[in-house]
């Protein structure tokens, strides 16, 4: 079995780019990733990619080159990028291919995502009566979490304030203006206890990664980053997920818990060894919950970590160093790969103004989304043994 390395990264800036289609942003990201690895699309032996609402990834070959490669579309909601990465990892690790590309992109209209209860197997009454609203789910989930762990809601504004501080230091971020926690807390309430600036917005953007067999990595770059693990899990009976007209009395862990544990186990690396983490922050409460669900800290420990600055870029557990979803918005198909892109920058030491000090060696990424899925990666500077 071969190890897997990331040897090229490319991104189209997140946010809103009027007049540039999601597909064009994907092509831009792909060309940047190929250039970064010193390769051409004709060198790619496979492609995996997807978007939620910007078209089929396999049609990108009409622009990138009709080389006959197997290009497989991936459609897995928020885990689209993570799933594409897992497929690439398996293709290389199994020996099927040596070198290929993954692409995640999206372009969503303004405002909340449209949702049809029928797509989720739920009766029309659920939407008609005003319960099919994702922001409500996040409000109820964090409300219960804060109650269970005795955490004061004030910390939620601090999470957003950190995201915007990091975004201000990241030239690729969408929201680059700092905002005080007091202003975030005083903003219009969307779903109690979460205000307007505690939620990310649907957005646009694209990310591409070129991956190869670990032993070949130095042919393409002098600073490869190794994909030590890539995992994906779906929900168990009793987990608390969006669009649930009912929940079981039995409580089960979120799929995040299993996906993270599996990633750390596969990598042979403990969560305590993580130097930089990108975790799903659809809203500020999600970052707080995911800090513990991923194993990066204990439940209830988050308040002290956040308020003490431990999760800031210069802290001991830097989280969402590029500003996360809160500062970058969420193009569903691209979001998971953005996290990997950011960790590769960090492990290469190329993150510029938002670089984590101290030569980080281990990066972790985590996405979570509907209908109860999570995908994680562990990335390392050193080739895993």
């Amino acid at each position: 079995m071969s190890g897997v390395a990331i040897v090229g990264i490319g991104m189209h800036r997140f946010g809103r780019t009027e007049g540039v289609s999601g597909r064009a942003q994907a092509v831009h990201a792909a060309r940047r990733a190929l250039d970064d690895a010193g390769l051409r699309f004709s060198d790619m032996q496979f492609g995996f990619g997807g978007s939620h609402s910007a078209g089929d990834a396999d049609t990108l070959v009409s622009e990138l080159g009709l080389t006959g490669l197997p290009f497989i579309n991936v459609a897995n909601g928020c885990a689209t990028g993570g799933s594409a990465l897992i497929a690439a990892d398996a293709a290389i690790r199994s020996g099927t291919h040596d070198l290929g590309i993954v692409i995640g992109f999206d372009k969503h209209p303004r405002g909340a995502f449209d949702t049809d209860p029928a797509d989720h197997g739920i009766g029309s009454w659920y939407g008609e009566t005003g319960m099919m609203v994702t922001t409500q789910f996040f409000g109820m989930k964090i409300q219960r979490y804060l109650h269970d762990h005795g955490i004061k809601p004030d910390v939620l504004a601090e999470v957003s304030a950190k995201a915007f501080r990091n975004g201000a230091r990241n030239p690729m971020a969408w929201r680059r203006k700092e905002m005080a926690a007091a202003e975030i807390a005083a903003a219009p309430m969307i779903s109690h206890p979460l205000t307007q600036y505690m939620y990310c917005s649907p957005a646009e953007g694209a990310v591409a990664l070129v991956l190869c067999r670990a032993e070949d990595a130095h042919h393409y770059t002098d600073r490869p980053v190794y994909l030590a693990a890539a995992t994906f899990r779906s929900r168990r009976y009793g987990s608390f997920e969006v669009f649930s007209p009912w929940l079981a009395l039995d409580r089960a862990d979120s799929p995040t818990v299993e996906a993270s544990a599996a990633a750390f186990a596969a990598a042979g690396i403990a969560p305590s060894a993580v130097d930089v983490a990108q975790i799903q922050d659809t809203e500020s409460g999600a970052e707080l919950m995911h800090m513990a669900e991923t194993g990066l800290c204990a439940h209830g420990e988050q308040e002290e970590l956040i308020l003490s600055g431990a999760t800031a870029i210069e802290g001991r557990l830097p989280i969402n160093t590029d500003g996360g979803c809160l500062a970058n918005g969420e193009p569903i198909g691209a979001s998971g790969l953005r996290q990997v892109h950011e960790n590769v920058l960090q492990l290469r030491g190329d993150a510029g103004e938002h670089q984590v000090p101290g030569n980080p060696q281990v990066g972790f990424t985590h996405v979570y989304g509907a209908p109860g899925i999570s995908a994680c990666t562990v990335l390392t500077r050193e080739e895993p043994s």
């Binding site: 005003g130 007209p245 009912w246 079981a248």
Partner: protein
């Protein structure tokens, strides 16, 4: 409201769910298969009319379609209500002020109007909700 969601009991209207004959798990609304034990022997069962508030939030803006509530947005709250021995059901709450909602408070089922009444309709369109119960 969708009549398949409700049933009549001696105490008044109740939500209609399913109970798995094999493992006792409940669902709402009714469904044919058990998500807990994967069995397929589900029986109709009225859900408890009283419970406790498990979590809650508010809706600060008028949702997009398919929402059909009143045109002029009236903020409302939603929550999960723990029905003992059965399940947690998601529902609108009659109290919209988060400062007057608390996890663990006792609540009971009510049918409330939630939609503007078309001129040709017989009366207001109702949906289910939970209201703080007075001991």
């Amino acid at each position: 409201m969708d009549p398949s969601l409700l049933t009549d009991t001696a105490e008044g209207p109740a939500l209609l769910g399913s109970r798995c004959s094999d493992c006792g798990a409940h669902t709402f609304p009714r469904q044919g298969g058990c998500p807990r034990c994967t069995g397929a022997d589900m029986q109709d069962v009225p859900l408890a009319r009283t419970g406790t508030l498990w979590s809650f939030t508010t809706q600060g803006f008028r949702p997009k379609p398919p929402y059909t509530g009143t045109e002029a947005h009236e903020p409302y709250a939603v929550g999960y209500v723990e029905l003992p021995g059965q399940l947690l059901v998601e529902s609108r709450l009659t109290e919209a002020d988060p400062d007057r909602l608390e996890i663990g408070m006792p609540v009971e089922l009510a049918l409330v109007p939630f939609r503007d009444v078309p001129d040709d309709a017989d009366g207001p369109v109702h949906t289910f909700a939970f209201v703080r119960s007075t001991p």
